[in-house]
Amino acid sequence: MYDIAIIGAGIAGSYVARELARYQLNVVLIDGENDVANQITKANSAIVHAGYDAVPGKKKGLFNAPGNIMYEKVCRDLGVPFKRTGSLVVAHTEREMMTLQRLYQRGVMNGVPDMRIVFQDEVHEMEENLAPDICGALYAGTAGLVSPYELGIKVAENAVDNGVELKLNHLVTNIAKKDDGTFKIETTEEDIEAKYVVNAAGVYADDIYKMVGDPYFKILARRGVYFIFDKEIGDLVHNVIFPCPTKNGKGILVSPTVHGNLLIGPDAMPVEKGDIDTTQDRLDYIKANALKNCPELEHYFNKIIRSYAGTRNTPVADTYTTTSGDFIIEESPVKNFVNFAGYESPGLTSAPASATYCVEDVILPMLERDGVHVEENKDFNPKTRPHIIFNQLSDEDKKKAIEKDPRYGKIICRCESITEAEIVDVINRNVGATTVRGVTKRCRPGAGRCQGGFCQPRVVEILARELGCDMEDIMYDAKDKGYILSGKTKNQ
């Protein structure tokens, strides 16, 4: 019997697990996927928002700006790339300039530092490749870029380092509340028993909750399509460029990425849960809208290296449910069952602050109410084992790294200059990579311009060697169904 079971190992669930690991609690983190951070956390805009968008007074407004400030430390502790670039919400008309004023006021109320309205000349001085008709912008200096899946993975790794148990490929099929008030969570692998449950199942959070209680919220999957461009044009813009927001959301942004690429997207199409197909009309829509703010892109569509889609989990109202449009982080009407749901943008940015809130203000008081005495975990280490990124070392340190471990002298991924030692390292850690995509997410082979064309056979070979299996057993992503190789070429 676990004290607490967390369903969903995305950024929300994993972060709650890590914050719970600060206490002497028996925590299990459950996910149906073959890797952590494999759904919403894997594919989003990767922006650490400043916090002027969120409506003051709501949790979104409460957690965004503080979450942003917390990024510096957590990314340093976990070795996750994070860059404060600043953002510009650009206006093409006087009317849009008025919207900027409103955003600025909201930002002030949410405690967002380093914001100002900048006018035409200054915008174009800051960004030489923006549309000439842009007449002003809201600049926010604290906006930044992060690698969301790397953060999700490292948070989960740190949770496991500190005693949390992780169960992947455990898709929850049913939850039974037993007479003694504890829960039996049925999964595709085994039944898991826990005294408390945290539901952080992303787009499936409403389906999970329906297993124990009457629905009071509903989650809509909204798909967002993105393009990633070659690093060659990674500095086309320096800030995150947002259009002026409308009631439909933040719009199509043009942004550098923390790894030095350029990203455009997303749209926001309501879809079936799990649908992350890209479609031609949506891809065309993204391109057309990105051009409105950054016409220079016209020359660089041949530098696209990947298109992809992700989903957001938007709370919506229907016959049985209402929504305030805010995050749902609370003990549900079902006692000892916590919902961490409707966690859409600015969820990523808010994660450090909301996870702390979820633990300190929701879970611990719940335990205290039930008379459970919770001791601090004195051994909690907030840092993960350092991971050396070879191509960021100085020449002298490169030399030393290879002397210490010759595998740093062997480049596997040419495009991103990733060495064998780095790949071996991300396989051999807690929450280590077991798949080709898992390696890509953790240290980037396959994320560069050749998209794995050269390195995939080598990565498969290294995974097989390190995990002690045959190359045929190595998956691209999903377990069993995501096979890469279909057998040997000879009758041997």
């Binding site: 393009f227 990633i228 060659e232 799990g274 992350i276 197909d277 890209t278 479609t279 031609q280 891809l283 041949n302 696209i304 290296i305 990947r306 298109s307 992809y308 191509n391 020449d395 490169k398 030399k399 290879i402 002397e403 010759p406 595998r407 740093y408 002298g409 062997k410 480049i411 040419r414 495009c415 200059s417 311009r449 050749c450 998209q451 794995g452 064309g453 050269f454 995939q456 056979p457 070979e461 190359m471 045929e472 998956m475 691209y476 992503d477 999903a478 169904k481 995501g482 096979y483 890469i484 190789l485 279909s486 057998g487 040997k488 070429t489 000879k490």
Partner: protein
């Protein structure tokens, strides 16, 4: 300090090194990133290489083997498993190549001249942005080729191939012979980008349909490819509604083009020709940086390795002359692509460096018969290239005599496809 460092030990690098050594330069080093010399030819186990160079049909490994033997006979040093990180040119014109491997660790190698022969890479699914999910089972033809020919693993059983480039055609036959069912090859253009002999021997021999003016408009399957939508396109290459056929398969191979790999070149300040996506080079393959040469698929994508070797030998000769101080640097002519021509290499010509002629390599933009390629300086036609047929898939080698160029001191060579005169 080396005289010449050659970056890349594939067919271009080997031919360049061999030629430089023959020209009397001793202190040469080849840096190869893979575990053996020979480059991509090692996985190209099919025959058809070397008809021009050796007058026989060799397989890729055999062709590579001949050049490896030449390099070994000439005792040219090389380092394997060695990755060049970057290259810089110092004020005194010394080139410094930063490279790493497991034995030597981190190296800063100095040289008087550098020859860039890194080859090319394949265009990917990401680059062409086929809609759908992004499941396992989508491979570039070259990646599948490596898995199958070198690692001994099949990449699937029911295969659709997009793009009729030569590697795609070769892999259609290869996978068929290994027991896979290749359902069709789709080509968005109204003509194939592969050599005719490959279409006949790789597709027709096995009754594999080649669907011209067809492309893939959707990839089905979440974890592994389950099917692809094949759709006919109009003359503007736009899918025609109502012509889509969903073909079940577990594998999609892409053979949709090759791109010269010039990250090291760009980093060093080498000028890139937007048309070829490779360095602009001279008649002896010198880039805009004195003492930095480039040859083979890193300059422009060739269809025959024989031409790669030929071009690389020029780079070897040029580098040798540079090292000895015999290379003339005064450019007399530039080349330009006129109507019907996609690109021309070399981009610039110094007549004094020519022996008796210069080979200008070019690609036509579309298939034509009853045409010729004319070379003009100003309004004057100085040479004509005849062929029964010009096709984009086959690079044209247009030889221009030194004596013809010497009649003019300088100018622009313009190549134009024109109707054959009656």
């Amino acid at each position: 300090m080396y005289d010449i460092i050659v970056i890349g030990g594939g067919p271009a690098g080997l031919a360049a090194a061999v030629e430089a050594k023959k020209e009397g330069v001793d202190n040469i080093l080849i840096l190869e990133r893979d575990r053996e010399l020979g480059g991509i030819l090692n996985q190209c186990i099919h025959n058809g290489f070397g008809l021009h160079t050796f007058k026989e049909q060799l397989t890729g490994p055999e062709y590579a083997g001949r050049y490896i033997d030449m390099a070994m006979d000439l005792k040219i040093p090389y380092k394997l498993n060695t990755m060049v990180l970057d290259m810089e040119r110092k004020d005194d014109d010394t080139k410094v190549v930063h490279a790493i491997n497991e034995e030597d660790g981190y190296m800063a190698l100095e040289a008087k001249a550098v020859i860039l022969t890194m080859g090319c890479r394949e265009r990917t699914a990401g680059a062409i942005g086929i809609p759908g999910f992004r499941p396992a089972g989508v491979f570039t033809a070259g990646t599948a080729q490596r898995f199958i020919n070198m690692e001994g693993y099949m990449t699937g059983k029911e295969v659709v191939i997009l793009g009729s480039g030569d590697i795609g055609l070769i892999m259609a036959r290869r996978m068929t012979l290994e027991g896979a069912h290749v359902k069709c090859v789709c080509e968005i253009m109204p003509y194939s980008n592969g050599l005719t002999r490959n279409i006949v021997q790789c597709l027709d021999d096995f009754n594999i349909p080649l669907k011209l003016s067809h492309t893939i408009t959707f990839i089905h399957g979440k974890d592994r490819v389950e099917a692809v939508d094949v759709t006919q396109v109009d003359e503007n290459l736009k899918p025609i509604p109502g012509t889509t056929e969903t073909i079940p398969c577990d594998t999609l191979l892409l053979s949709v083009g090759l791109i010269p790999e010039n990250e090291i070149s760009r980093g060093a300040g080498v000028e890139i020709d937007r048309r070829t996506q490779g360095p602009s080079i001279s008649e002896l393959c010198e880039t805009n940086l004195p003492g930095v040469f480039a040859a083979g698929n890193v300059v422009h994508v060739h269809d025959l390795v024989d031409f790669v070797s030929q071009e690389a030998a020029l780079a070897g000769k040029g580098a040798a002359r540079y090292v000895k101080g015999h290379l003339e640097e005064d450019i007399n002519f530039t080349t330009v692509n006129g109507d019907g021509i996609g690109n021309v290499v070399p981009e610039k010509i110094t007549v004094a460096n020519l022996d008796d002629s210069v080979n200008c390599y070019m690609r036509v933009r579309k298939v034509s018969t009853d045409t010729v390629i004319n070379c003009y300086i100003g309004d004057e036609k100085i040479a004509t290239k005849k062929a029964r047929k010009f096709v984009p898939a086959e690079m044209v080698n247009f030889k221009i005599k030194k004596s013809d160029l010497e009649k003019y001191h300088d100018g622009e060579l313009k190549f134009v496809v024109e109707p054959k005169e009656a």
